[in-house]
């Protein structure tokens, strides 16, 4: 291949090694970022715990809401059976992923009790979603069982909502009683 065009300045002796400069700059920026440890065991701040708890509780409420719709439409025979089961399964999947993501984060040192209370509530939400899926799939819902499921869902959603508000306003009081 023909010689690279080095240009006037290069011909006169100077040369910018911009590629090595760029590499050095990248190392300077990336190094501290990588070393500064967003490690798993590092406690988060109170506000980021609040945001994370708000998000995961919202996800649980959303999953329960979806389950509620699935139960009602299935009970009213307005939905193909397999669709309702898939809806309930998807709700378990989605909420489960959010909960796992929440559980691997380390809470602030002052909020261990609050974190445990939120964790408990999330466990209840998970198991209720599984109950819904089991009831839907086989042998199927009756008007009675559907009604009872909806009541349980509404009660738990209410509780999660109150917990969410408490997390936002005064996290230290959560789980204290």
């Amino acid at each position: 291949m023909n010689a690279s065009r080095k240009g006037y300045r290069a011909a006169m002796g100077g040369r910018t090694r911009w590629s090595t400069c760029a590499g050095a700059a990248l190392a300077l920026v990336a190094g501290p970022a990588l070393l500064s440890g967003c490690g798993i065991g590092h406690p988060s701040s109170v506000s980021s715990w609040q945001s994370a708890s708000d998000r995961v509780l919202g996800s649980a409420i959303s999953g329960l809401g979806t389950a509620r719709l699935a139960v009602q439409q299935e009970a009213d025979n307005r939905m193909p059976h397999s669709y309702a089961v898939v809806t309930a399964t998807d709700a378990i999947d989605t909420t489960g992923k959010e909960i796992s993501g929440y559980q691997v984060a380390q809470p602030p040192d002052s909020l261990h009790a609050a974190n445990a209370a939120v964790g408990d509530a999330l466990d209840q939400a998970s198991s209720l979603l599984v109950d819904v899926r089991i009831a839907l799939a086989s042998p199927g819902l009756t008007a009675d069982s559907a009604h009872r499921l909806v009541q349980r869902i509404d009660a738990l959603r209410d509780k999660l909502d109150k917990l969410d508000k408490a997390v936002e306003k005064s996290p230290a009081t959560v789980g204290a009683s």
């Binding site: 945001s51 959303s62 979806t66 509620r68 025979n77 307005r78 669709y83 998807d90």
Partner: protein, 411 residues
């Protein structure tokens, strides 16, 4: 086929083919979380795609050349190859999301496992791209996609307060518990979902496939200026149904099953049957379009023969790209990745890639060498420039917003 029938078919196909998995997911998400407060953004996005689709269709009809062909010529090989990487990466992501969407839609009503469905759909998509006639593919899938009109029927049936909807849209009435950053993230997402980059490459290449000439400009404009906005109406319908049924229950859309729930509430099993056919047709059609689009872009950059208007052996490299793209998509989906997640990422990155796509079209549509007397007039240039500014803003904001708002989950 009389002219009227041809025009009507084109419009109906455009309506049915407008919605893809990105529109389904993002419109349902915004309806569920923001009500109709983002409706104006959707409408702006629809106008944008109309402006640029018309331009790219005009380029194809007047010059016989497709858009990506002209990107390398106008921007040079270096910018062209960067543009190629970015466009093909985003288009392939969308391709994977669409095939995943077909799989999700089919799994709503059957209990066949994903491991079996995904390869089957991938091979079916490839077979259609290999053998089916271009116009037959477009028309059949477009007409079946019209089943999504069931969203407008359902919305009517649900009887929301139209006054409330209108005031939410016009006043950008964001619900109190959401913040403006998340609102902006979804605005960018809706923009990216409506103005998908692959659409203009596909539309102009499709024009060359169907051998458009300047005589077809009228029909093309009818398809774009009537068909696309009506297709946009379907997007608004999806958002509206989600707003009525999902928003009161604070349901956040994260699965395709949730997107169809409002139909069950409004219309029961019959409605659900239609909506599932609609899902399959819309995503399958979009999978064909994105697959072809990736092939078009690569072949047009290197100057290879492309298109379904010649025998496969005459465009061997083009078809090889399609095969490789399909194998890639099947491979990625078999890892069990969530197609909805791929959809969300592909829509955000589509927003980032928008200026790369639209700037060359705007430049070429003004070139009298190609366009003759049909080069852009004042209206097209004004609208084009306005949207160019918008897409640059969206492109710059997309990734920071995605990171800050944790992909819309909340700040």
């Amino acid at each position: 086929m009389s002219k009227f029938f041809a025009v009507a078919l084109g419009i109906l196909t455009a309506i049915g083919g407008f919605v893809d998995i990105g529109d389904l997911v993002f419109n349902a998400q915004t309806g569920a979380r923001f009500g109709m407060s983002l409706a104006v953004i959707t409408m702006v996005g629809v106008v944008g795609i109309c402006v640029f689709a018309e331009m790219s269709g005009r380029v194809a009809a007047c010059s016989g050349r497709a858009t990506f062909d002209l990107v390398r010529e106008r921007l040079g090989p270096r910018m062209g190859v960067l543009n190629l990487f970015a466009s093909v990466a985003v288009t392939l992501m969308t391709f994977i999301a669409e095939i995943g969407g077909v799989a999700l839609a089919i799994m709503l009503v059957t209990s066949i496992s994903e491991v079996l469905i995904v390869p089957f759909i991938g091979i079916l998509v490839w077979a259609v791209l290999w053998r089916a006639k271009f116009s037959v593919m477009e028309n059949v899938l477009g007409l079946l996609g019209l089943c999504l009109v069931v969203y407008l029927v359902a919305l009517w049936q649900l009887g929301p307060s139209w006054g409330d909807f209108a005031s939410q849209a016009v006043t950008f009435d964001k619900p109190g518990k959401e913040d403006w950053l998340t609102y902006s993230y979804f605005a960018v997402g809706l923009f990216g979902a409506a103005m998908t980059p692959y659409e203009v490459f596909f539309f102009s290449s499709g024009g060359v496939e169907e051998k458009w000439t300047a005589k077809d400009l009228g029909v093309m404009r009818a398809n774009v200026l009537i068909g696309f906005p009506l297709g946009g109406l379907l997007s608004l319908g999806i958002a509206g149904c989600a707003a009525v049924v999902l928003q009161p229950l604070s349901v956040d859309v994260a699965a395709l099953s949730q997107v169809g729930l409002p139909i069950a509430v409004a219309l029961g099993k019959v409605g659900v049957a239609f909506v599932i056919v609609g899902f399959v047709a819309a995503t399958f059609g979009a999978a064909c379009e994105t697959g072809l689009s990736a092939g078009y872009s690569i072949a047009q950059f290197f100057g290879w023969q492309w298109g379904k208007f010649v025998k496969p052996t005459q465009a061997a490299r083009f078809h090889l790209v399609l095969i490789l793209a399909t194998i890639l998509a099947i491979g990625v989906l078999m890892t069990g990745v969530d197609p909805i997640l791929v959809t969300e990422i592909s829509v955000v990155f589509s927003a980032v890639a928008l200026p790369l796509t639209y700037f060359p079209i705007l430049v070429v549509a003004n070139d009298r060498d190609y366009m003759g007397e049909h080069a852009n007039g004042v209206v097209a240039n004004t609208l084009g420039s306005f949207f160019l500014v918008l897409v640059v803003v969206a492109a710059v904001a997309a990734i920071p917003l995605m990171v800050i708002t944790h992909m819309g989950a909340g700040v």
